[in-house]
Amino acid sequence: MIVISKLIIGFLILLGSILSLISSIGILRLPDVYTRNHAASKAATLGIISIMLGVFLYFSIHEEHINTRVILGIIFVLLTSPVAGHLINRAAYYTKTPLWKNTVVDDLKNKEEG
């Protein structure tokens, strides 16, 4: 039981940190603000949720201490991180940050003109 739970917890924490690393590589290499935000607000959120789930399982199984603040933190990050990404992207669009040069269609611009 203890060994299996350590296996699962180690897998969750390692998966979360690998997802964080992939997200930051995406932020470093993608071409413009909007694609970077796509990488930041999805992969980083899932990675951190996975890490916090592993930590919650560790404390509830090995230390026998069920900490509801970690659950609250999971729900809070899940709710607010995409909202923060949306607000930053919206501010970037309305301050006329340039899109990637190979962008095909910009529906919001057509809507404002028409």
Binding site: L21, I27, I48, H65
Partner: protein, 94 residues
């Protein structure tokens, strides 16, 4: 074995934060920097969580929620300042 996995995860998150700091320094626009600061805050939550497992203490678990709330409030304030020019609007001035 379990401690090795934890140390490897800490190293991966540290590399991730380093790459985000590179984007924070050379990012061409202000929203780039805001995005990378937000992601650094999210990474700090993970570092705090793993450190509390390594040290086997539950004293730092409040800090997780606190960093999450502060990162969200900071990002919303930066976004509103970029879009409207002021963070707290006063309607009676108009």
């Amino acid at each position: 074995m379990f401690e090795t996995v934890l140390v490897i995860s800490l190293g991966l998150i540290a590399i991730s934060s380093f790459l985000l700091i590179i984007r924070l320094i050379k990012g061409p626009s202000i929203p780039d920097r805001a995005i990378s600061l937000d992601a650094i805050g999210i990474n700090l939550i993970g570092i705090t969580a793993i450190i509390s497992v390594v040290l086997k203490t539950n004293a730092f678990l409040d800090v997780i929620l606190l960093i999450g709330i502060l990162a969200f409030i900071g990002t919303v304030a930066i976004a509103k300042f970029l879009e409207k020019g002021e963070i707290i609007e006063n309607d009676r001035d108009k």
